[in-house]
């Protein structure tokens, strides 16, 4: 087991180094931030001066070496635009992203899983078709539209919820639903097909033959056995949610990482983009590692297999 973990850890380090290198060079291929920083009246000499003060006048490889050296010392640099430490900028945005991701995940889980289960068990019931339609609708509604719609209904007409912004639980409700509905649909579909898969297996038939009731069958056997695909999807969903939800954050003026990423890419604030991408890589890799460990907890077969 420790060998396995060490291996995974080594792989993670290589992956992070790869991401670091890629993000450095790709960004520098996309253009020079100096032009965006100076006012229209700046002369060529002013532009040169600005470039020097940002260190962008040095050869690319020298910049790269400096960058790697800074990373080694855990110095993530300062934003070109805001002139403050990147760590500080990201730290101020991260709690919002975590809040929104948790809210969305909660909405997705609480609605999506039971819905998927119900749709699988009562496959033939006429209501299931209606539920399927709801799931499909939730998945196909673009969030910039459903978000604005919610804002108009609950924020402007009914006045029940603050139309946008952050800072309280009430602010979190609408963005969580807008974002969560998307993942909800994914969960419902995955849970449905996993349960249908299980339902056709021999052990279900024998359990039914032994006289096990539907309720007991579901809680004791089906849920646990259908969890593997749900966990795999969760790893994907969580790392996606933690990377920030650009559209929902923009529509609801939610100050998370997604908004920050877009603004930083637009203003070619290389240092901030590097920081966010690294964080994203780190989160994705750790969540996947966690998912691997969780598989073995849920499914004893995997645990036993690794021992053999």
């Amino acid at each position: 087991m420790p060998v396995f973990l060490l291996q995974r850890f080594g792989q993670a380090l290589v992956a992070i180094f790869g991401v670091m290198t890629l993000v450095f060079f790709i960004q520098r291929l996309t253009g020079d931030p100096t032009y965006l920083l100076v006012p229209e009246t700046a002369t060529q000499a002013d532009i040169e001066a600005m470039r020097r003060s940002l260190g962008l006048d040095q050869p690319l490889l020298v910049q790269y070496a400096n960058y790697l050296w800074d990373m080694l010392r855990m110095d993530f640099g300062r934003s070109y635009v805001q002139n403050i430490a990147v760590v500080e900028i990201i730290a101020s945005r991260l709690p919002y992203t975590v809040q929104l991701a948790s809210g969305a995940l909660l909405v997705a889980f609480v609605i999506g899983l039971p819905l998927g289960l119900a749709m699988a068990i009562w496959r033939k019931h006429p209501l299931t078709n209606a539920l399927m339609g709801f799931v499909l609708g939730a998945q196909s509604m673009p969030t910039f539209w459903s978000g604005i719609l919610m804002i108009m209904i609950f924020g402007v007409w009914l006045g029940w919820l603050p139309p946008s912004g952050s800072g309280s639980f009430a602010h979190l409700i609408m963005p969580s639903i807008a974002l969560g509905l998307l993942s909800m649909a994914t969960y419902a579909r995955i849970a449905r097909s996993a349960v249908i898969d299980e339902l056709s297996k021999d052990y279900v038939r024998s359990a039914r033959a032994r006289g096990v009731g539907t309720g007991r069958l579901v809680t004791r056997h089906l849920i646990r056995n259908s969890l593997i695909p749900v966990i795999s999807i969760s790893a994907l969903e969580i790392s996606q949610l933690l990377a920030g939800a650009v559209i929902v954050e923009t529509v609801f003026a939610w100050p998370g990482l997604g908004q920050l990423t877009v603004q930083s890419v637009q203003s070619r604030d290389f240092v901030v983009v590097q920081g966010i991408v690294l964080l994203g890589a780190f989160v994705t890799i750790s969540v996947n590692l966690l998912a691997d460990i969780l598989y073995s907890v849920v499914d004893p077969r995997i645990r036993k297999g690794s021992r053999a």
């Binding site: 032009y35 006012p39 229209e40 532009i47 604005i148 804002i151 029940w160 603050p162 603004q263």
Partner: protein, 496 residues
């Protein structure tokens, strides 16, 4: 039952948390949060909307657009290159320390110091010296006679020397101290900036106890906030949204003509646009009335020159060159200008409705024009390419120098030495230099009248329209927006 519970829950949630909107607080929705609150660092609207309330500038413009005293109470040009400013006495910074001539001189030296790396350096780099020549007197030196100096000082904020030196640039940016009508209170990163009224302000501080500037990137959300009453003033709306707002109760649209001139730029150094006849044809092909009334419809006016009435150097009585599609077609066919494929360089920042309309109109006249869309930094790299002949054939822009002086518009766009210019005309260069280096108003006006004639005769650039700024506001807010796109809180009030 579920519904009543849900409803009760929602109401409880909103009551628990809705900000106590006191009538004495104003909430403004910007697009993004300020990049910096240090006024010597970033120069973008979302930043200066906020910091211009925290800091006093050396001089300012009143609502009529005249330059009037702020920190400098009087000014005198003592020689061709020296200006003496009298500094207002009795002004204190928010920490209680007095504002002196040394603070003013320090502010000028700080922003013009290349080591400091201010992005605004280009606006002030004609200033080569700033000394306190008395307790309340500062002498500024420019590297040559510079008539636009005072107009530039409208944008130069005064920072407290001792505080900046003690805190360092980073801490000062995080918690700035100025002498303006509003003091910095809190910066909630990514969310909002709160200011509180400076009751010791030397002038009129305005009626609000506090002001919140919140970042709301989506225009529809800003509108929803305004209609729901969680915002009192919103910026950056277009004419479509303005029309939606006009019918709504409790809100109104405020419009101000700005000093921004929209134009179609042409590269006069690249064939076939090096032929004045061909450029004339291009200008005749553009239906500016159609653009202003049909597409924009926000109160813009067709411009006949690269200036607005709010600029010094605006020439009265110039008629825009006429629209004449038939004549344009004839010239294009005759000169064979339609055979050369030409690029119309642009980026998503620019209003694509206009860009597409212009391309359509040029195509109709027989030109072979293709839109080439890139992101902003790539566009700027091309538009400011080191070689004049590499700059784009066509482009659309909206120019403001934020100085209300035509020198700030025409020199960068037309003088051959500028990195924006696609014109290379030594005679025009000379007149532009005259306009920028004489301290005599009538000499300058004559020079700019000459520039205007040359530009129109040779069709060097096509002025399109004077842009307007549209704001959405609660109809309780009493405010007259001005040409320089500032939000001075102490010029706003609640109407009763």
């Amino acid at each position: 039952m579920f519904h009543t519970t849900l409803r009760g829950f929602l109401i409880a949630a909103s009551m628990l948390t809705a900000p106590a909107l006191s009538a004495q607080q104003i909430t403004v929705n910007l697009v993004n949060e300020p990049s910096t609150l240090d006024p010597h660092q970033q120069w973008n609207p979302d930043s200066y909307y906020v910091y211009r309330n925290i800091f006093d500038n050396i001089v300012t413009r009143d609502d009529a657009g005249e330059i009037v005293p702020q920190i400098a109470t009087a000014w005198e040009q003592v020689s061709d290159t020296e200006m003496v400013l009298k500094i207002r006495e009795g002004v204190t910074f928010h920490d209680g320390s007095p504002l002196t001539a040394e603070d003013v001189a320090y502010s000028v030296r700080r922003i013009t110091n290349p080591e400091f790396g201010s992005p605004q350096l280009g606006q002030f780099n004609q200033i080569i010296g700033a000394e306190a020549t008395g307790d309340f007197e500062v002498t500024l030196t420019t590297n040559s006679p510079y008539p636009v100096l005072l107009a530039q000082l409208v944008k130069l904020s005064v920072v407290p020397k001792k505080v900046v030196e003690a805190l360092g640039d980073e801490s000062f940016n995080a918690a700035p101290i100025g002498s303006g009508p509003y003091a910095f209170h809190e910066w909630n990163r990514g969310v909002d900036v709160t200011l509180s009224r400076n009751d010791d302000y030397w002038g009129e501080a305005g009626p609000f106890d506090a002001a919140v500037f919140a970042a709301v990137p989506d225009a529809s959300t800003r509108v929803a906030n305004l209609r729901a009453g969680t915002a009192d003033l919103i910026v950056s709306i277009d004419s479509d949204i303005a029309r939606q707002l006009e019918g709504q109760p409790g809100v109104h649209v405020l419009t101000a003509p700005t000093e921004r001139v929209a134009f179609m730029g042409m590269n006069t150094t690249r064939p076939p646009l090096d032929d004045p006849q061909v450029r004339k044809a291009a200008t005749m092909a553009i239906d500016r009335e159609g653009i202003v009334l049909g597409i924009l419809a926000g109160g813009e006016t067709v411009a006949g020159q690269m200036a607005t009435p709010s600029h010094f150097g605006y020439v009265d009585g110039v008629e825009p060159s006429p629209y004449n599609l038939e004549e344009a077609k004839r010239i294009v066919a005759e000169t064979g200008a339609g055979e050369t494929p030409m690029e119309f360089a642009t980026s998503p920042v620019f209003d694509q409705r206009i860009v597409q309309a212009i391309q359509q109109m040029l195509t109709e006249a027989g030109f072979n024009v293709e839109i080439s869309m890139t992101d902003m930094s790539t566009y700027l790299q091309r538009a400011r390419a080191p070689e004049q002949t590499e700059r784009p054939f066509f482009s659309f822009g909206r120019w403001s120098c934020a100085c209300q002086d035509v020198d700030g518009v025409q020199f960068p766009l037309l003088h051959s030495s500028s990195s924006w210019s696609r014109v290379n005309d030594p005679a025009l260069d000379k007149v532009l230099e005259q306009g920028r280096s004489s301290l005599d108003d009538s000499t300058r006006e004559a020079a700019y009248a000459q520039v205007q004639r040359t530009v129109q005769d040779s069709a060097y650039i096509l002025p399109l329209y004077q842009a307007v700024a549209l704001y959405g506001a609660s109809d309780k807010l009493d405010w007259t927006p001005t040409a320089n796109e500032s939000l001075f809180l102490n010029r706003m009030a609640w109407s009763e």
